[in-house]
Symmetry: C2
Subunit: 188 residues, 2 copies
Amino acid sequence: MVDGRKARGEKKRRSIVEATLRVIEREGVVGVTHRSVAREAGVPTTAPTYYFASIDDLLIATLLWVAEELCDDMLQIVASGGTAREIAVSLARAVNENRARTLAEYELYLLAGRRPELKAAARRWLDLAVEAVRPADPVAFRAFLAAVDGLLIQGLIADVAPNEEELEPIVSFLIRGRDDFTPPAREQ
Amino acid sequence: MVDGRKARGEKKRRSIVEATLRVIEREGVVGVTHRSVAREAGVPTTAPTYYFASIDDLLIATLLWVAEELCDDMLQIVASGGTAREIAVSLARAVNENRARTLAEYELYLLAGRRPELKAAARRWLDLAVEAVRPADPVAFRAFLAAVDGLLIQGLIADVAPNEEELEPIVSFLIRGRDDFTPPAREQ
DNA sequence: AAACTTATGGAACAATTGTTCCAGTAGTTC
DNA sequence: GAACTACTGGAACAATTGTTCCATAAGTTT
C-alpha cells in the first residue's frame, strides 16, 4: 500500500520548490534563505533543511523544475504552429505579464554557468527545441534561438518592455524564408 | 592646488570597484560582502563602507564601470571593421578566455532588471552600437544584437564553449546581405 | 604651527545566516 | 497495541553579515 506520509512529503517538497521560485521572482536568488522559503511556503524553518541537503540543493531542484516547465511551454508554442506572430506574442508575454518569472528563470540560468552539473538542465529547452523542430537550416535556427534569449534579456532591462507589435518584425526577420518553424515533415 | 588625498581616495575607490568585479567573477554577486571585497582589494574592512553608502551602491558603481568598459570594447570591434570573422572571434573570446568576466557582466546585467535606475547603464552598449553603426535595416540590426546576447549566454552554459569556427556561420547568417556592419557612410 | 579636512583601521553592534539537535507527533506495518 | 518510520517544529549553535563608532594618522590650507 502507498504510504500516505510519503505522498504528503512529496507534495510538501514540491510546495517548497514552488515557494523558492516565488521568492526568487520577488527578491532574486539572493533572497533565498531557509527562513524566507519556509515563511513563503508556510512550513517550519527546518522543513527546507529536512527535504533538501542544503540551500544549493534547493536552488538546483528549483532550476530543474523551472526548466521542465519551460520545456512544456516551448513545446506548446511549437505545437501551436510557431508562426512569427505566435512567437512574438509569447515573447511579449514573457517580458510583461510574466516578467518576474522570466527574470527568475534567467537568474537560475546564470547559476548553471557556475555549476557544471546544472548546465544540461538549463540547456534542455534548446535541445528540445532543435529536436521538436528538426530545422532544415541548423545555422538559421541556432541564430533564432540565440535571438530569443537576447530579446528576452534585453526586454527585461528595457525602460518599457516591448510588446508583440515591436517584436514581430524582428521574429519575422529571423525566420524569414519560411513563415513558421514547424518540422520539415510538412515542408518536405 | 589639487588635493593629493582626494586623488588617492579616488584611486582607492576605483581599486575597490575593481576588486568587487574580481569577486563577482570568482564567486558571483552573492559573494560580494564588505569583507570579501576589502580582503580582495587589500584595504581595511571599513573602506568599502567609507567609499560607498551601501553594498548596493558598490554593486551599482561596479555595473556602471563594467558597462563603460564594455562600451569601449564594443566600439573597438566596430572600428576594427566589424566583419563576421572579427565578431565571431570576439564572441569566442568572451565565452572562453574571458568567460568569468562575461559571466560577471551578465549577473550585473540581470541586477539591472531589478533596479530601474540601472537599466540605462546596462543598456548603454546597445544604444551606443546603434549610434555607432547607424544600420540601414534597424530590424535586422536589433535581431543581430539580440543574437549576440543569446550566443554569449548560451555559450556560458554550454558543456564546451563554442569557438570562432562554430560561431562565424551564425554571425554571417545574421549579417547576411552585407559582410560587415560599418556605418552607411561607407555604403551610401 | 595651528586649524582644517580626509583617510585609516580596529572594536563592537545587533541581526541574520545555515545548520544541528532533539523531543514530540502522527501516520504505517507488523 | 507494539515497533517502526516519516514528519514536525522549536531551541540553540557558531559564523558571518552590514553597519556604526571613534580614536588616530596623514595631508592641506591658513
